[in-house]
């Protein structure tokens, strides 16, 4: 083998308020805005926007889930940097709040012709709520 690939990735997840993760991991799955990306060590450099959704990463057999909403991810062969607007660990998510937000957004989207309703904003709110709920569910099945 000409060049040995790195065996681990350094994953950094930061939001404007805090650094959520800085860890050595073996694989990462990123909710890119053009689809999910599975990243293993040695991946080619890549830049993508994020869509709201669950981001998961594995440290050996242990899998962790985070809910991220918008942002960017920069992938290097030995490093993944995620700049997220918000990032919450599965255990931190308030599911009932997310459910309420989802319901509210759905109600707003029902009123298609109401000029008071900002459709775009309601859709984004809905996607965020779904991302949180999904992440929380993943986090639970693991246990």
């Amino acid at each position: 083998m000409a060049e040995s690939l790195p065996k681990e990735l350094e994953l950094v997840v930061v939001t404007p308020d805090r650094q959520v993760v800085r860890d050595k991991v073996t694989s990462v799955s990123i909710p890119g805005s053009s689809g999910y990306l599975g990243i293993l060590p040695g991946h080619a450099p890549l830049l993508t926007e994020l869509a709201p959704g669950p981001l998961s990463y594995a440290e050996g057999p242990k899998v962790e889930y985070l809910a991220v909403t918008w942002g960017f991810a920069e992938v290097m062969p030995d490093r993944v940097i995620v700049l997220a607007n918000t990032a919450e660990r599965a255990a931190e998510i308030d599911v009932s709040r997310a459910e309420r937000a989802k319901q509210r957004a759905e109600e707003r989207l029902q009123n298609l012709f109401d000029p008071q309703v900002d459709q775009e904003r309601a859709r984004e709110a809905l996607r965020r709520a779904i991302a949180r709920i999904e992440t929380a569910r993943h986090g639970q099945t693991r246990r």
Binding site: P16, P45, T48, F72, E74
Partner: protein, 285 residues
Amino acid sequence: MPTLQDIRRRLRSVRTTRQMTRAMKVVAASRLRRAQERIFNARPYAREMMALLQNVAARAPEESHPLLARRPIQRALLVVVTADRGLCGAFNANLIRAAEAHLSQAGAAEVSLLAVGRKGRDAFRRRGLALAGEWINLFRKLEFADAKDIARELMELYTRRSVDAVDVLYNEFKSILTQRVQTERFLPIAPLARQEGEPLGDYIYEQPPRQILQSLLPRYVEIEIYRVLLESQAAEHAARMTAMDSATNNAEELIDTLTLTMNRLRQAAITKEIIEVVSGADALR
């Protein structure tokens, strides 16, 4: 000559003041700690964002986004970030003086003002200067969303071509003892300096670079505003802490001198009374 009564009254009032300044110092110190922590937490994001932007902007021409476009400066906007409250030494006064200096040096360009913080707004109003906008009462409960709102307004003014440049004037948090008034050009976003020979990250772009730039640049302005607000907040608490510390010390000194004068006066009164009694007794003999 003040009477004993006067000095006692004065002492009481100085003691109350000392108590107040001491309490404010303690409060400022604990707020400062929290503010420093927030700066610390916000730093990794700002750093990674900067690195990412350098890489992307390096391969995007200047005209690829309105926030990068430079035009001759006819109208400029000066954002002045002061505190909402006073009693923090020269914190606000320094900024306002710097803002006035900036205005008088503007030359041909027409400069409008945007005040962040109540103190700045009030000062500019008193001087009869028109404000392009104001954001007050942010610092009590500062959140990223506030920075976002300000950033949005600035970007809109810039892309609408209402202004050709946006500068931000604020107190930088150097250390607990020093704050420095700082001016930064926010818009247009300057072509970022790159070290020579540093390899340009060659990316696979999941989305076209132009599109990534489109969402990256506004985000960058937001985080920069957020950083400035956090810096200013920490600097404000630090300034207040030092101001209140020296006020407490001054009060203590005053209490010492007053106590001394009071004791002297009391001693004099007692001596006088004794002399009166003794000489009265002498006269009777």
